[in-house]
Symmetry: C2
Subunit: 412 residues, 2 copies
């Protein structure tokens, strides 16, 4: 599938859920661009405004042919225009774009756009029913709104870092960072949800709306019962490492060839089967391990026994044995395992795509899947300013001389 | 604020984004109920159908006055009716409900509802423009669709478990589970997004739609550039513990009183300030630590030096010093820290609520925030079947004798 960028970035299938909606992104890094990528994946036309030097993510992570493969995905299905918001004339371009857009998604520091003449009043004067979604570290108000937003710090304030660790007393190593920008990404999904909900309200009432997503709060929203438990009982939830606090055995166990294999044997029948498979049916009758409550209380011993057994088998043999015994399990997937997985392939979650700049590349599919079909990307992440002429010329109707003047002035 | 359940569960402020939409939940555990809670938080009327024995989450986690405080949040803003889907007559009640609903959210095993006479055809016969959102472990098709869905296994297949670990060779401890049901929750947010996007399309085209969310794929969607990097360069992303692969120093460091404090000193000026604060300005000139690239290459040594310093100060003194030096930092928040945080309180993210069953309790606020106001919950999680009479009688117009017969037959 060749999906070279120039042709179709804005042209989704008319049946896509968000076909016909136009979203302006004033974003950088992860959160806002991820929100708009999700909206673009669902069919919206997204116009991303970037400084002429480019979004820093263009250089993040591994590099290939001079740019980050991540960019191919991060900016797919978008049109990219360059604009130096600090230059005179840039503000007017943004407001012209706003006039033609249904929503704006931004993740500048709170108040920053207002300083550039792009505060709420100016935006709403250009487009009264605009939906404005703002993503920030701490939210648009409150005593901490002006603090610098670092993802890892927001994740710690949201409570996730404390819980992503081995049980107290197990190790001196620090709590682990969730190995991805979880706070930014979850904030991005919430922002996408907020934009679409506000557009649905607009369809009913005609009014725009404001969506305010904080990275800290997005993370905190994932904490299940931790807050009401603290509020009623005063209990402070603690981390449990690879295990689950309330069920055993459930953990990652190491095979002889050093691969971690998850085993969820945490019901009486499953545990009985597992003990049999281990050649230790006696353990299923051992009072320390009879019933989930006892197994949880003695989980470290239990995990030690299971680890001693898994360490005698290579991962492939271990997985075969678990599969034949019908015990839920999986090896811990690396991205290589994902790329080769028949289920991921069958569902279009791993797609081979031709990137105009990078050549053949793998893209993840669209989540959520709509109407039973895996959606293919319409385009891959374009070069800086690739759509300047198309957007400013065709969409806004600027004369070539006007565009040339903006280019000469360093605005583009 | 007293928000006893009986009065207002379905009655959101007319300005709420999803006011006027009615959603039916055939859900249990975390994913589908979390999706509908988000929709309810945004103003939708949600009717949750539960087996007479109740959703298992009513007993999950810590218990207080005989039930889980989590439930107060997990089922807030919802109406709960009981229904034994395996009993004759239950199917007709569900179809009567479907007729009056805009969307259905379910997380049964794929095909399970069809076996109960509630397949797509029956649902669409009752309500042709219904939006149907299904959440499952692996998706509604493909070779693995019938596999049992365990959250921890789905998270491992999605690639997150591998990345949430100390760097290879650092420890024999297993990769850590993200300390919450991250896969279920992220799948729930995606399902909410899918429902609202499909409703927005329905407003334009009149047609319903199908949303298919897999837990594995929801997790995989968070993996940033891992797949395109693998596809172009063949590199397999590896975990980096508490650090970030591309910037240093950034990690959690332990204070003298044993509290983990995150420090993000990962720019040249910030590192210079930090070295000064440590009383080691010479380190900023040390060739091992000049420039981010060298710092990343020598991150373990660097982290060791910083840890040696943080270990001489109690967390409070450490935080004061970092704050005065303007170096981004935070202690790793527990839920107790969150509950006391002025920013969380100011933003309405920690709210004191009166639960009709449990008494005073803390609820997290609504994410995303809409129109600049923190939304208060309209009601707390109700008892099993609390809304049977209201929903079946007032909404569906069933006669009291009809409801009594359903109750006697064990259908309710």
């Amino acid at each position: 599938m060749d999906i070279s960028h120039t042709s179709v970035a804005g042209q989704a299938d008319a049946r896509a859920p968000l076909a016909g909606f136009r979203i302006l992104e004033l974003g950088h890094y992860v959160a806002a661009p991820f929100a708009t990528r999700l909206l673009a994946d669902l069919g919206a036309e997204v116009i991303k405004v970037e400084p002429p030097a480019g979004d820093p993510v263009r250089q993040w992570g591994a590099r290939y042919k001079g740019s980050a493969p991540w960019w191919s995905v991060h900016a797919r299905n978008k049109r990219c225009i360059s604009l130096d918001l600090k230059k005179p004339g840039a503000r007017e371009v943004v407001l012209d774009l706003v006039r033609g857009c249904d929503a704006l998604v931004e993740n500048y520091r709170p108040g920053q756009l207002a300083k550039l003449g792009l505060g709420e009043e100016a935006l709403r004067a250009a487009r009264p029913d605009l939906v404005i979604a703002r993503i920030s570290g701490y939210g648009q108000d409150g005593p901490d709104r002006d603090k610098a937003a670092f993802g890892v710090i927001g994740e710690a304030i949201g409570g996730l870092r404390h819980l992503t660790n081995h049980a107290p007393g197990t190790t001196d190593l620090p709590p682990v960072r969730v190995g991805v920008s979880i706070g930014d990404s979850v904030a991005g999904i919430y922002a996408a949800l907020g934009v679409v909900a506000a557009l649905l309200r607009r369809a009913r009432t005609g009014a725009g709306g404001d969506i305010d997503v904080a990275l800290t709060e997005s993370v905190f929203s994932l904490l299940e019962g931790a807050l009401p438990e603290y509020g009623t009982l005063g209990t402070v939830r603690q981390p449990t490492g690879g295990a689950i606090a309330t069920a055993a055995p459930s953990n990652a166990y190491r095979s002889r060839d050093g691969i971690w294999v998850l085993i969820a044997g945490n019901s009486d029948p499953l545990w009985r089967k597992l003990a049999g498979l281990m050649g230790r049916p006696d353990l299923a009758e051992d009072p320390r391990f009879v019933g989930n409550q006892h197994r949880v209380a003695n989980a470290r011993e239990l995990d030690g026994l299971i680890n001693a057994w898994t360490g005698t088998l290579d991962a492939e043999a271990l997985e075969t044995a678990l599969r034949e015994a019908n015990i839920p399990h999986t090896r811990v997937f690396t991205v290589a395992d994902i790329a080769a997985d028949p289920q991921m392939r069958a569902r279009g979650m791993v797609q081979e795509v031709e990137d105009g700049l990078l050549g053949p590349i793998l893209h993840p599919g669209v989540v959520p899947r709509v109407d039973g079909v895996p959606n293919a990307p319409r385009s891959t992440g374009p070069a800086v300013g690739a759509d300047n002429d198309a957007v400013l010329g065709e969409m806004l109707g600027y004369e070539p001389a006007h565009i040339a003047a903006l280019r000469e002035g360093g605005v583009l």
